[in-house]
Symmetry: C2
């Protein structure tokens, strides 16, 4: 039996300054991966509802880099990083910085794992160099963006 | 009075899985930065004596990437990563992987700080996602490579 859990779990690691997010999707790893790596799909789901995302630079391959800008009510928030490792359908390892805090850098890892029934478990970890930084990130309201973003991703995946 | 300390300090952080290396050089931050970012200079000092370094790819700018191969007694060891942030004379933030362990990724930060007398303090941090990984890295004999590498860097800087 396939359970269709769509709960987003966000766990702060007790030992290291890392956040671990897990979420299952009713789509294959290949499809979920594509929604993370094709800008036309990415802008349709990344972040909370009401925010508009514009991709400003996108070279999604091992050794490439990215930049995108999210806007809401006339305010803009830019994010950028480099792609350390991109393995189609399996893994993305990248750096991540909010340009408003250019010295804060996270190392992110997204693993796309095949589940029975053509489904996918996505596990994302975000590692920073202090517990204070990690806890501030978790307290910043990121949960709303993550949960709503993945609900929007469900819709993108369902639309095929 | 300028003290000419050339001791390399390697400290494992007690709270997070990070190693911090500090070293002073009798050269300006601009010169020490250049020796880290120009491949012709880099290959003359990186790693322990006896190892030969060949740069295989080098695009040292924010959003660029690198790969180099070190060889000794017919064995080759390749390393690669992407440059998250390159600020001339000041800072390099990059990822780092030994290709023999492709799933182990470190987030590295090198800060070049001006000291009186035209000298430079270099502070390098390397962050990974587990204490086991960090401690294995420290126990791997990396200290020899770091200490000897910086002695070789002294020579490169003195040669101008």
């Amino acid at each position: 039996m396939t359970t269709s859990t769509r709960e987003t779990r966000i766990v702060s690691d007790p030992d290291v300054p890392l956040v671990r997010i897990t979420r299952e999707f009713d789509a294959t790893p290949a499809a979920v991966f594509r929604a993370h790596t094709e800008p036309d799909l990415l802008v349709r789901w990344l972040g909370p509802r009401g925010l508009e995302t514009r991709v400003d630079g996108w070279d999604c391959r091992t050794g490439g880099s990215y930049r995108y800008v999210q806007s809401e009510d006339g305010e803009e928030y830019a994010f950028r990083g480099c792609f350390h490792d991109v393995r189609p359908g399996e893994l993305i390892v990248q750096t991540f910085t909010f340009e408003g805090m250019p010295d804060a850098v996270a190392l992110e890892r997204m693993a796309f794992e095949e589940l029975p029934g053509g489904r996918c478990r996505l596990t994302c970890t975000s590692l920073v160099d202090s517990f204070e930084g990690r806890d501030a990130f978790v307290a910043s309201g990121m949960e709303v963006g993550v949960v709503q973003g993945y609900e929007r991703l469900d819709e993108v995946l369902a639309a095929g």
